[in-house]
Structure formats: C-alpha cells, structure tokens
C-alpha cells in the first residue's frame, strides 16, 4: 500500500495521559508506593506484569511495572525505587500532584494459562512489585488456582516491601510464604541467606507448578539452577525482564534483546522462548 493511503491516528504515540497521585507512602529508604488515578478516563484495564511509562514533566519518563490487582479499576498502584533522574523526581511528589501516564504496555502474565496450576512466585528485592499484581489476583481468585507459594528475598529486613500484606497473605489467604534476607539484624528472627536457599526444601508438584520469577539480573541464573536441580520443567518457568526503555511502543530500540523488543513481546517471557538468546540472561 502506498504510504499516502495509510490510515493512522493523527495523535502522538508519545503523548501521556494526565494523571494524579492519589496516595503516596514511603515504604523503605529507597522505595515509595504510589496510587495513581487518571484524570480523563475512569477505567484503566491492564494485565498483571504490564508496565506504564510514568512522566514527571521537566525530568522525563521511565518504565514502571504496575503493582496492583488488575481487578482494581479506579486507579492503579506503583512501587518505585529511587534510582535515576525521573524516579528521584517522582519520589519528591506528594498526594494530589500531577504525573503523566502512557500505557499499559507490553505483555504481562497470561492468567488463562495459569489457571488450575500451583503458582510458585520467586521475587528478589523490588521484583516483588510486579509479582504483587498477580499474587493479589490469584489470592482473590483462589478457586482458579492450586497452591500459592511465595519466596521473597531482600538484602536486609529494612528493605522488605509490603510487610503488612505479606503477613495478611500468609495468615488469611493460605499462602505458603517464605521470606529470607541476605543479612539479618538484631530484631530479625526469620531466614538468613540468599533466595536460592529457600528452593531445595520445597515440596512441589513440579509438573503442575508454574514458577514466576522476577528479580535483579544476577538472580535469574542462580534461581534457575536451583529449580533445575529439583528437575523443575523449563517450560513451566516464566520470568519478567528489566530493560532500558524510552518509548514503550517498539520504536526507540533501547530495550532490544537480540531481535526481540522487550516492550512489545515482554517484559514477561516464558523461559523456553528466550533461553537461547545470548542477550536475554547473563
């Protein structure tokens, strides 16, 4: 087709929607929780595992995973680590302050394919944030899933996120929760050690369990080795990957992992689909 006959929307792919911070709570020294509400749109539909591009005007835009249950329709939640220019600016914002939102973008967790399965969540550090969306969804729809097991590791007790919710999930929702920290402190009475120490003792129905892994790049390799040591089938492993992103719509090129644009085909992937890509995990 000639380019002159193209039908396309004469509106920028890069124009954010106006939104407002409904709630902002400092969670740890580096992480802040935000509830966001869009100004002109009542409903915001998304899948667990998808992300949005968040704008703080004058500073820029950054890709942030959505952390809330997708059944929450009046807004959505983010938990943001202060780590760059945009996230530092975002941390300075308060309830009522405006932000820009584009999205939701990418492919999240495919909930339909997870139905009937046991779910093994493995979150390292801020990796719990995107997993929380699916954790909350699966707890709310518990009859659709088998066992729910959550392994969560942080560097220290002070860096643990959503601690009240963790207790609630364990106490009221029948979730099998195991938390560990790399280094304890005087008040810490739980597990000490890296997250992979939680894997060997697990009693899993491996054929019927889906592992959902999100963490820092270095974590994947060791978690995968621990799972494979238990003969965990690789086709049952799903993970979400972090990459630099400047557009979210498959153009700017920053998120490429070999031929794949993570913002389009990911950030959530089946391990089997990316394991042979040299640029996927290292």
């Amino acid at each position: 087709m000639a380019i002159t006959e193209m039908q396309y929307e004469k509106k920028s792919l890069y124009l954010p929607m106006k939104a407002r911070i409904k709630k902002a709570v400092q969670m740890t020294e580096l992480e802040k929780f935000f509830e966001i509400e869009l100004e002109d749109r009542e409903q915001f539909n998304y899948d667990p595992g998808q992300f949005v591009m968040v704008s703080v005007f004058g500073y820029g835009e950054a890709p942030i995973s959505i952390s809330s249950n997708p059944t929450k329709k009046d807004g959505f939640e983010l938990c943001v680590r202060k780590v760059g220019k945009v996230t530092e600016a975002l941390h300075r914002l308060k309830e009522g302050d405006p932000v820009g939102i584009r999205g939701p973008y990418g492919k999240g967790f495919n909930v339909k394919e997870l139905r009937g399965k046991d779910l093994l969540f493995i979150g390292g550090g801020i990796g719990l944030v995107p997993l929380r969306s699916l954790i909350k969804y699966s707890i709310e729809n518990k009859k659709d899933f088998g066992r729910i097991i959550i392994l969560y590791g942080a560097k220290s007790p002070k860096e643990l996120l959503f601690t009240d919710e963790l207790k609630e999930w364990e106490a009221e929702s029948g979730v099998d929760l195991k938390v560990t920290v790399d280094r304890g402190d005087e008040s810490w009475k739980g597990n000490v050690g890296v997250i992979t120490t939680l894997i060997p003792p697990l009693d899993l129905d491996i054929e019927n369990t889906m592992a959902l892994i999100v963490g820092p790049p270095v974590m994947y390799k060791f978690v995968l080795l621990s799972l494979f040591a238990k003969k965990f089938p690789e086709e049952n492993i799903i993970l979400s990957l972090e990459r630099k992103m400047k557009c979210g719509v498959g153009k700017c090129g920053h998120c490429q992992m070999n031929h794949i644009y993570v913002c389009q085909d990911g950030p959530v992937f089946y391990y089997k689909d990316i394991k042979d890509l040299p640029e996927s995990l290292h």
Binding site: Y14, F57, G58, C252
Partner: protein, 376 residues
C-alpha cells in the same frame, strides 16, 4: 515486501535547462530539498581518519548534503552520496514531540506537537536512499504506526536520480539498486536532458509543470547506458557473500573471534548510526526552558554503539562490550530486521564505511563473516 514493481505512468524527456523554470513553478506549493555541495573547507569532511585513503575519499566527497533550495542552480545532482541520509526529513535529529507548561513545577498543560508540514519534494534521491526510506516506512508502520513519522512521510514526493557510485557503494550486492520502487518520478541523467520515468499521479503533477518532450529510441538507449554506468560494481564486487545468506551466516558465525578484532578497532563514536539511512533508534529527554515554566519532550537520534545505550537506571549494562554493540548493529541490518522484512536493512549506501574513523565497514565485516564461517 520489497518486490513490487511500480507501474510506469509516463516516460518523457526533460531538458536540464528547464529545471529553473520547473522549480519556480513548484516553489509556491512545495518545499524542495536537494543535494547541495556544502563544504568549501575541510572541516566539513568530518573526523580525521587513521587511513589516508579514507581521508582522500572524504575530501573528494566534500560534504554533499540535502538542503532546502530556492533555486535549481545550486543543486549538485551529479553526486556520489550525502553525509547524512534523507531520514532527517522524516525523523529530525531533534524533534519536540510534546509541549508542557508547569506552574510551581507542577503540570499545568500538555500539548501534542504533531508535525504540520507543507508538501515537500526530495529532488535527486538515489536508489539506496529510497530503499532506506522504504525500510523506515516498514519500521514506523509496524505494530504501532507513528503519526510523527507518517504525517511527514505522506507529504513527501520523491524524485529519484541515477548516481555516481564510488568504491564504498555496494547497493547492488545487497539488492538495493532498484529504480522502480518508491519513487514518484525517476530521472536519468542523459547529458543535456533527463530521461523521466513517472510512477505516480503526484509525480506526474509536479513534473508536468514544464513542457516535456517525447522519448525516442536514442534517449532510451542513452538512459540504459547511464543506468549501466551507475551500477555500483566496484564496491558490490568486493562484497563476497550472497546477501540472502546473511541471516544464516551471522547465526553460524556468532561466536567467531573476528568480531572481537572489529570491536577492538571501534571507538564507539556512533557516527555509523547517525549517517545510516535505516538506523532510527532514538532517545527522549525533557528540555526545560530557562523560565522554568515550560519545556518540551524532545527526541534525539541515538546510537546503539554508545556505551550507555542499554544501561538501566540500576547500572546494569545489557550490551557492555564494543564487540557486542558492533554485532548488534550488524545483526540489525543483516539478520533481525532482515528476517522480518525479507531484505537487508543495509542498503549499501556506504556511508558508515566512508565516515568511520576506524575504517570499519559493512563490506569488510560481511566478508570477514563469510570467510570465517567458510573455515568452520
């Protein structure tokens, strides 16, 4: 994609002396851009090279550049290549995409800065650059059609012209020396006149502003001879692999040590990306005005060869080595996008090779890949 031959609407002869009249008649309705020889000094010949021969090539080229022209007289239609490709008319090096206004540092208003351009003519585009533009069309339409690109592209009229290849040109070797795809009009230089092939109604409208003459057997023969002289044989014959095999070759040769030898030579300057007609990756930053009240979200051409290209805020670099960044660019041209599009995203224009301060070029890299895979 890529194989469609366009139907010829009309063939005619345009005497060169009518070009000024043609431009006069077109200028009220169109912006016209064409190749202009820019440089009268060596500074424009870009960075110095370690290789004397490459320096000489650049001096000879003397910085032709597509520029807005008000008269046909300043055009240099007998040119080898321009320093930057025509992508700049569709994705400008810097483009304000969103305007925002703040009050007490908080957002007050937001405006979509959709480009609103006058219809424009690119006059004197070579086959390689036309093929490059068709590849950009693919990338900017695919998935999420980008209005910023398309609203400029739909206003464009492309007048092609046959070229004067040098030893860096290898369009024929990558299947990009195509005269009947994408152009609205194609001109072939036959001495005192141009042989004109019209492919679109838009093309017919602009070229018919002056009196055209009928073609005859002599002019058709002249045209064929001229196109034969324009074949990029010198560079194309140096290019050893069959381009169809490039995706396969790059898979087989992914781990070969020659990639490190190329990586060691690369300075990660990003020039190859800037001058490439099919490199379109970009960065986006907010730029505040000095009043601290308003600013724009601006996109810039970016380069996958720069060390920071794939670094996330936490510091992890997903393409830390120069070898891997070099490979990435090469694979974008001859594997990843090629497997989707069916033809290489390298169109053989030779710009990256001409401008590279380390004299890394696509012909040499392709040959090294080919020869080293053969040895396996």
């Amino acid at each position: 994609m890529g194989e469609t031959k366009q139907k010829v609407i009309k063939e005619a002869i345009l005497p060169k002396k009518l070009l000024p009249e043609l431009f006069e008649k077109l200028l009220p309705d169109y912006d016209i851009y064409g190749p202009v020889q820019k440089a009268k000094n060596d500074a424009y010949d870009i960075a110095p090279s370690v290789d004397k021969k490459a320096m000489d090539v650049r001096k000879k080229l003397r910085g032709n550049e597509f520029e807005k022209v008000e008269t046909a007289d300043i055009l240099n239609l007998e040119y080898t290549s321009t320093v930057t490709p025509i992508k700049k008319f569709f994705i400008p090096p810097k483009e304000d995409i969103v305007k925002f206004e703040l009050e007490n540092l908080k957002l007050k208003s937001l405006e979509d800065l959709q480009p609103d351009v006058k219809p424009f003519i690119l006059f004197g585009v070579h086959a390689c650059d036309m093929q490059g533009l068709l590849r950009l069309d693919y990338s900017f339409i695919k998935g999420n059609p980008e209005s910023n690109y398309l609203s400029r592209r739909e206003k464009s009229i492309i007048v092609g012209i046959n070229c004067i290849p040098d030893e860096y040109c290898f369009c024929e070797a990558v299947g990009a020396q195509i005269y009947d795809e994408g152009f609205d009009v194609f001109l072939t230089n036959i001495g005192q006149s141009f042989h004109v092939t019209v492919y679109t109604e838009k093309g017919l409208e602009i070229i018919s502003k002056v009196e055209l003459y009928d073609v005859d057997d002599t002019s058709i023969k002249e045209k064929e001879k001229a196109l034969e002289r324009s074949r990029s044989l010198e560079g194309s014959e140096k290019f050893k692999p069959d381009y169809h095999n490039m995706p396969l070759l790059s898979k087989s040769g992914d781990d070969l040590p020659f990639w490190d030898r190329i990586g060691e030579r690369c300075f990660s300057c990003g020039t190859c990306n800037l001058v490439c007609p099919t490199c379109y990756c970009f960065d986006v930053n907010d730029v505040m005005n000095i009043n601290i009240k308003d600013g724009t979200r601006r996109r810039f051409w970016d380069s996958c060869q720069l060390e920071s290209f794939a670094v996330v805020a936490g510091g992890e670099n997903f393409r830390a080595s120069r070898t891997n960044r070099n490979k990435h660019r090469f694979y974008r041209k001859f594997r990843y996008l090629m497997e989707e599009y069916g033809k290489p995203f390298c169109v053989g224009c030779g710009r990256c090779g001409r401008q590279c301060v380390a004299d890394i070029n696509m012909i040499e890299t392709s040959n090294l890949l080919y020869e080293n895979v053969e040895k396996i």
